[in-house]
């Protein structure tokens, strides 16, 4: 039987996150071809009740201590290292999310394990896994194998099916202790999302602007289009980072997840971190000067051209129509 697969359960503010079930699903699928048992590791304070939801694993290792409330990446990676040592785990799955980023690399660096980042797919041949990683913002994929049986895999959120990692039953729970020095990084408080002027998650129509909008002045074009369509303007990260729109308007991995009936993307390349937040939109129409922009791959309609030429014409025609 192969070494166990250890899945590091991710949770925030008392709830397991979706990626935890995605990782468990990926581990179950791999276990089916290698025969490895699946173990979930839950690290935190007062997190024991969450263990009941981890039934897709064969067992749950629980490290529950008061000083592990909102633990640092270092504490969690130490816990994972010790748990893996104890159970002889081979592969360790961590989430490639903002919440967990850093944990996998700390673990790999300290335990001298190989690490595969950005993993989107796992293929198995002759009992050995090949990890397919997405590099360069999704422009290239690389197939990677590990030389030995042990290593850390950081799984891309949204790449694996969460349903495969949910189970009605509960798995046996084993409590573990953690030998750790006092935390070097201390949690202070949560900073709640700014409540913006508009709640973009509740809009039927969103006009999204990306770096292709080029200047703050050009935002007026998007505002006007949104106005005739009775929608609101949202943006990709670079536009928010420029300070042109408030954080409450950011769509994507670190921003909001939206599912409007209509999403018009203006000058957005379609990076995976942006897709994460808008892929459930009903109808997507994209404007981009680059015929090969990835945004066109997932949109229903595309316009290859300068948004500065195309958007004003559309707004004018819509206005004329409604008056």
């Amino acid at each position: 039987m192969a070494n166990p697969i250890l899945v590091l359960a991710e949770h925030l503010r008392g709830s397991l996150t979706e990626v935890t079930f995605e990782m468990l699903g990926a581990a179950r699928a791999l276990a089916q071809s290698t025969g490895a048992p699946v173990q979930a590791l839950l690290v935190g304070s007062g997190v024991e009740p969450l263990a009941a939801q981890l039934g897709a694993a064969d067992s749950v290792l629980l490290v529950d201590r008061p000083d592990l409330a909102n633990p640092s990446s270092e504490q969690v990676s130490l816990a994972a290292e010790q748990a893996a040592g104890k159970t002889g785990a081979g592969l360790i799955f961590v989430a490639g999310t903002n919440v967990s980023t850093g944990i996998g690399t700390l673990l790999a660096a300290r335990a001298k394990l190989p690490l595969v980042n950005f993993c989107r797919e796992i293929k198995v041949a002759d009992g050995r896994p090949t990890f397919v990683s997405q590099l360069f913002g999704g422009k290239v994929f690389a197939e990677v194998r590990m030389a030995g049986d042990r290593g850390v895999v950081s799984l891309y959120p949204g790449a694996f099916r969460a349903e495969a990692g949910r189970a009605d039953k509960a798995a046996p729970v084993e409590r573990c202790d953690l030998q750790a020095p006092p935390a070097k990084v201390r949690f202070r408080r949560f900073v709640e999302p700014e409540t913006g002027d508009v709640d973009i998650t509740r809009q039927d129509v969103l006009v999204a602007v990306g770096r292709g909008i080029q200047s703050q002045d050009n935002l007026a074009l998007a505002e006007e289009l949104a106005q005739v369509l009775k929608g609101a303007v949202c943006a990709s990260r670079p536009v928010i980072d420029q300070g042109w729109l408030p954080l409450s308007r950011q769509v994507g991995k670190s921003g909001m997840s939206v599912k409007p009936r209509l999403y018009i993307a203006l000058g957005i390349s379609g990076a995976p971190e942006h897709w994460e937040g808008m892929q459930s939109s009903r109808l997507i129409i994209a404007f981009n000067t680059d015929p090969k922009a990835p945004i066109f791959d997932g949109s229903q309609y595309g316009v290859c051209g300068d948004l500065l030429d195309y958007v004003p014409a559309l707004t004018e025609k819509l206005k004329a129509r409604s008056s």
């Binding site: 700390l106 690389a142 030389a147 309609y301 025609k317």
Partner: protein
């Protein structure tokens, strides 16, 4: 404060990326390099901290095409010193890069002064073997925070209080004792613009220290197989014509779907 910014050049994805003849690396022919967005923000955050608390900003980067422009631009913006590590033939993986950078930093400061803050981009698009910051945190055994979007210095330079991003706009505040390393996601202000004339002036007045990089053998644990471009699952129906024609087609679609 002793502020050190570690910079990493990455392929510019605005250009077409092609896989090379060996099937396991990028075709270098049309490759252009730039600083990743998070690295630009790391520079900005360093300059903001220097303006507020005084001290020096030292840049460390591995040699790569276009790196001199990047370093002179940062010097023109207000960084004090730039070190370029030479000798790597192709971009090494993060573990090797981290060792090279750590050796350079140790060569300048050993031990690290108590008011040292090391900044780098929270991630890079070629981080196949993990991010730079955690590798360095392990090498120096100093505290780490990732996905940082705000930095305050407290206790007279002994402590950093950082805001890190989670998701959906939720953030968390953490405190770390210095010396520490931060993976910067975004600076408190957008990266500043510096006119070309100032960059040219920096090219004349400032200099870049070149040093041979200490490059260890890469760890043996990973076998890189095939690289390939993704196959698109689908493609948009492209609307052709001049802006008026395109507008008519879009309006037809919107009307069909009762969106207008």
């Amino acid at each position: 404060m002793n502020i050190v910014v570690l910079l990493k050049m990455v392929p510019d994805t605005v250009e077409e990326l092609n896989v090379g003849a060996d099937g396991r690396s990028l075709d270098a022919e049309f490759l252009r390099y730039k600083l990743g967005d998070p690295d630009e923000h790391a520079i900005e955050q360093a300059l903001l901290l220097k303006e507020k608390h005084g001290g020096t900003v030292t840049l460390v980067a591995l040699d790569a095409p276009e790196v001199d422009d990047v370093l002179f631009t940062a010097l023109a913006k207000g960084a004090d010193r730039a070190i370029k590590l030479t000798g790597a033939e192709s971009p090494p993986g993060t573990p090797v890069l981290a060792q090279a950078v750590a050796a350079c930093v140790r060569g300048v400061w050993n031990p690290l002064p108590a008011d040292t803050l090391i900044l780098c981009g929270s991630y890079a698009i070629d981080d196949l073997e993990g991010e730079l910051a955690p590798w360095l945190a392990t090498a120096f055994e100093i505290p780490l925070a990732m996905v940082v979007a705000g930095v305050q210095i407290e206790d007279g330079g002994r402590k950093a209080v950082v805001t890190r991003e989670f998701f959906g706009g939720l953030r968390g505040e953490f405190e770390l004792d210095l010396p520490a390393i931060l993976g910067i996601q975004s600076a408190e202000k957008p990266p500043r613009y510096v006119p070309i004339a100032k960059v040219r002036a920096a090219m004349k007045s400032a200099r870049i220290d070149s040093q041979a990089a200490e490059l260890p053998e890469p760890p043996a644990g990973l076998e890189l197989g095939r690289m390939a471009k993704p196959e698109a699952a689908g493609h948009a129906q492209m609307l052709e014509g001049d802006p008026d024609k395109v507008a008519d087609q879009i309006i037809e679609v919107l009307a069909q779907q009762s969106l207008i």
